[in-house]
């Protein structure tokens, strides 16, 4: 049997009368690059928030490394090795780029209540922060306030921040959202590098089809809150239902609709 890192069983989430996620079961194998795709409103981000703990499911369970984590709050999941990025850029705008990464490195350590020492005197965290900034190509921008980075730089900083805590599982919510198309390959290279480097497992919600088809090892297609199909990129491309429901729909729309 394959090594399952994350598993969702019969997840359902309703908001009032709206069923956003309906009986979704999903297994994420260790070491895979698993993409979740689907038209707008398919329930991808809701599913994502159920996996990260931001929402509690109406019913169903989430297992991580075989343990039930359904009722664990967000910060506890982070301590288990689950890191997430956000669809909307979510950084500490008025802090320096270095401090953003340093806070991520410090988060899972044991020094968070050492109020008598300066934060920048903990060399291990600072070194780790520089390491992930190097990896994401932000080393030179370390001392700038995070809010002066261009949009692409902020998306990279997002990645650097998740990486800093060395999670086993990375949940990326539309890492290329809002990026200019010429910046996308750069980001893909970084994601690839992350995966190869630490044998990380990555789950990604993404709209950009070329990104998804390029780097995914497995794809789950969602439609109206349910799983429509699952398979490797070749299987998904060949799937007739997926073509009609999702790909066709997407390709008919004018460019840039997916933001």
């Amino acid at each position: 049997m394959a090594d399952i890192l994350l598993e969702a069983r019969g997840l359902r989430k309703t908001f009032g009368g709206l069923v956003a996620v309906d009986d979704v079961s999903l297994t994420i194998e260790r070491g895979t690059m698993h993409s979740i795709i689907g038209p707008n409103g398919a329930g991808k981000t809701t599913l994502f928030n159920l996996l990260t703990g931001r929402y509690r499911p109406t019913s169903g369970k989430v297992f991580y490394k075989g343990n039930d984590i359904t009722s664990l709050p967000v910060h506890r999941r982070a301590h288990l090795g689950i890191g997430r990025s956000f669809q909307i850029t979510n950084i500490f705008a008025n802090l320096s780029v270095l401090e953003n990464a340093r806070l991520a490195a410090q988060a899972l350590g044991k020094d968070n209540f050492r109020i008598l020492r300066r934060a920048d005197s903990f060399d291990a965290y600072t070194a780790r922060a520089y390491e992930v900034l190097e990896l994401t190509g932000l080393r030179d921008a370390a001392s700038l306030p995070a809010n002066v980075l261009p949009h692409g730089g902020k998306r990279k900083l997002e990645l650097a921040m998740i990486l800093a805590s060395s999670p086993d599982l990375l949940l990326l919510d539309e890492p290329t959202a809002g990026m200019a198309s010429e910046q996308v390959p750069d980001l893909i290279t970084i994601i690839d590098r992350i995966r190869d480097l630490g044998k990380k497992t990555i789950v990604m919600v993404e709209h950009n089809m070329s990104v998804v088809m390029n780097i995914s090892t497995r794809i789950t297609v969602m439609h109206q809150g349910r799983v429509l199909a699952e398979g490797d990129p070749a299987q998904i491309t060949a799937n007739k239902t997926v073509q009609s429901v999702y790909l066709g729909e997407l390709y008919d729309l004018p460019k840039g609709e997916d933001a």
Binding site: F92, R118, S121, F122, M161
Partner: protein, 357 residues
């Protein structure tokens, strides 16, 4: 990056302006005494001292500045560094004052013992209040938390304004202060205690904010969701911030009661919430020295202008009668000219200015 941990003292000595300021303020009672030919200890009349003369008068003014500075710095820890907006800061200030007053006037203990126990109890009560309010409300976001703190503070204000034991809205005078901290006998010792408290508060807050814990507080201010998803249990950090801020505001409240030798519901009033808020905004939110500048500036302006009159042609204007109006105008001007507060805007300006040489 790999600078060895410098000692507390050597760090202190690096802040030259700080040392100058400290020396100036330590010397202040004597300098004023020399310049105005008055004794910094007051005038002896038999075995009592009478607080008469310019030196002791200005000591009282600066003690008030130190008290307000401590209050504003504590408010800034919550507001400026943690991003939590409380409208109930007077609660801590006033409650500490009441606890000390009750200990001194309503227990048969020896004066010094009552004072010591009262001070410790007051700070402990502030910590407890902060903890309870925090536990109940910090899960509320933004404006809901703010409204709740306002409600609790007003509740205490109304209750203590009607409670017969504390003589309701009249309050009660403190008649039984230990000699060494009685401002009408030994004002200079109150002056130095308040000065020391203000400096220690400044250092303590700076240390806390620059620590790993302070880094998390700033992260919460910037983006609480993100801090949580990194693995920080943000409620704990916000609790710490409100408890520490409450205790420091309590220290200010103790000094206020000592200085005025009186406890009354006015120390729980909304003014002691709004003043530190304005002082922080005017001085610079989330800067270390900003609240101190705001507190000194506003209070000294108040003192200088309180009794002043302005003559424009035949028209004589009494400043005291329009002080609130003037304060409003000052506030509006500062917010327009210095949107980040005086210190905040100055820092931003210095950062943006291209460096030469």
């Amino acid at each position: 990056m790999a600078i060895p941990q410098a000692s507390f003292i050597s760090r202190l000595l690096r802040d030259k302006w700080f040392i100058f300021l400290l020396i100036a303020l330590v010397a202040f009672p004597f300098v004023v005494g020399l310049l105005t030919d008055s004794s910094p200890f007051g005038v002896a009349r038999g075995d009592r001292m009478i607080m008469r003369g310019e030196s002791v008068r200005w000591q009282a003014v600066l003690i008030e500045v130190y008290i307000l500075a401590i209050l504003a710095m504590s408010y800034n820890l919550l507001f400026g560094f943690t991003g939590v907006i409380s409208f109930g800061h007077a609660l801590f200030f006033g409650t500490a004052g009441y606890v000390l007053g009750l200990m001194l006037e309503y227990t048969p203990l020896d004066t010094t013992l009552a004072f010591g126990l009262g001070a410790v109890a007051a700070i402990a009560v502030c910590a407890l209040l902060g903890l309870v309010i925090g536990l109940v409300t910090l899960r509320l976001k933004g404006v809901y938390f703010t409204i709740f703190t306002l409600a609790v503070a007003e509740m205490f204000f109304i209750f203590l304004g009607r409670w017969q034991l504390t003589r309701a809205e009249d309050g009660f005078a403190i008649t039984d202060l230990p000699m060494w901290i009685d401002p009408s006998q030994n004002r200079i010792s109150v002056y130095y205690i308040a000065l020391a408290a203000a400096f220690l508060t400044f250092f303590f807050i700076r240390r806390l904010v620059n620590s790993p814990t302070g880094a998390v507080l700033k992260a919460i201010r910037e983006n609480e969701d993100r801090a949580q998803s990194m693995g920080y249990n943000t409620i704990n950090y916000k609790l710490l911030s409100i408890v520490v801020a409450g205790m420091l505001a309590g220290v200010a409240g103790l000094l206020q009661v000592v200085l005025n030798k009186k406890v009354g519901p006015e120390i729980l009033g909304i003014a002691y919430t709004v003043d530190p808020l304005l002082m922080t905004i005017i001085g610079g939110i989330g800067t270390f020295i900003g609240p101190v500048i705001g507190a000194s500036g506003l209070h000294l302006l108040d003192v200088f202008l309180r009794d002043a009159t302005v003559r424009i042609g035949g028209l004589v204007i009494d400043i005291a009668s329009i002080w609130a109006l003037l304060l409003g105008v000052i506030f509006i001007l500062v917010v327009i000219v210095f949107p980040l507060g005086i210190i905040g805007t100055w820092q931003r300006w210095r950062m943006k200015r291209p460096k030469r040489e």
